[in-house]
């Protein structure tokens, strides 16, 4: 019954989103840490494939009947392995920028932009989860 409560509505999807943004944050901060490390190549997690996997999982849960509760089974992507207690991520090197003379290819600006986007998405996911929890609390206490 408790598990059913946490598997209802958007909560499981939001949980996956928060896990993904957390993994991506780790990758992006690692890029910044290696900013002046020769031969380092910037890494990133593919947002599009994560979103496609999440969309597919939500579609599967709906199953044509418009069901909005039950656990989400997200299929693994090339970089992301969805476990019950989190996501294991293997970030790929990205080859988007010309190499600097030290064979390092980090665009600091692009990396900072991704970091800002990721932080905002993470905050939004956490805020939405907080809202859902306050709804559950309200239901438990039977008063707002």
């Amino acid at each position: 019954m408790i598990q059913g409560m946490f598997d209802s509505g958007a909560l499981p999807a939001l949980e996956r989103l928060a896990q993904f943004t957390e993994s991506r944050h780790r990758v992006l901060t690692n890029n910044i840490a290696n900013l002046s490390n020769p031969y380092f190549k910037a890494r990133d997690l593919d947002v599009k494939s994560f979103q496609a996997a999440l969309t597919q999982a939500i579609e599967d849960r709906r199953g044509g009947g418009g069901r909005t509760n039950g656990p989400l089974h997200v299929r693994d992507t090339a970089q992301l392995f969805f476990r019950t207690d989190g996501i294991t991520a293997h970030a790929d090197e990205i080859h988007e920028n010309v190499l600097f003379h030290d064979q390092n290819n980090i665009d600091l600006e692009r990396n900072m932009q991704r970091l800002a986007e990721n932080t905002m998405t993470h905050n939004a996911a956490i805020e939405l989860i907080r809202n859902q929890f306050s709804l559950i609390q309200m239901a438990i206490r039977e008063r707002p």
Binding site: N97, Q113, A124, E127
Partner: protein, 134 residues
């Protein structure tokens, strides 16, 4: 939703590259030999900017298409005793005018700041719409 951030970031990268080119020009104002030590005065470099951003595949934004060399005449300095002096006693120095480079540096850094301001505005907009949602 994050599209305008992509545009501002492409502007940041382009202006930073421009500033790097300008810095290289200023640093090489007296470079008259190449890396191998052969007589070949440094030519002024220019970053050529184009619309569109290949790194995101978008037609919006800006990118540095190429870095070209300025083909204008070298600065001649009369130094008869110099080992690279020509028959008139002149040595070719790079065609770099520090005043011009300083103006370009100032312009690039102002443009960079403008893109930062646009980014901050976009971020504030996104955050306030997220507050509306959550």
């Amino acid at each position: 939703m994050f599209n305008s951030l992509d545009i501002s970031t492409s502007g940041l990268i382009a202006q930073r590259t421009r500033l790097e080119v300008t810095s290289a020009n200023l640093a090489n104002r007296y470079s008259i030999t190449d890396a191998q030590g052969n007589y070949s005065p440094f030519r002024r470099r220019m970053a050529i900017l184009s619309t569109g951003d290949p790194s995101t595949g978008s037609s919006e934004g800006v990118h540095v298409r190429t870095i070209e060399q300025d083909q204008s005449d070298f600065r001649k300095v009369y130094e008869p005793g110099h080992r690279f002096a020509d028959k008139d006693g002149n040595v070719n120095y790079p065609n770099i005018d520090p005043a011009m480079e300083m103006i370009n540096a100032l312009d690039a850094s102002r443009a960079y700041e403008a893109n930062i301001t646009a980014t901050e505005a976009t971020k504030a907009m996104i955050q306030s719409s997220l507050r509306l949602l959550a």
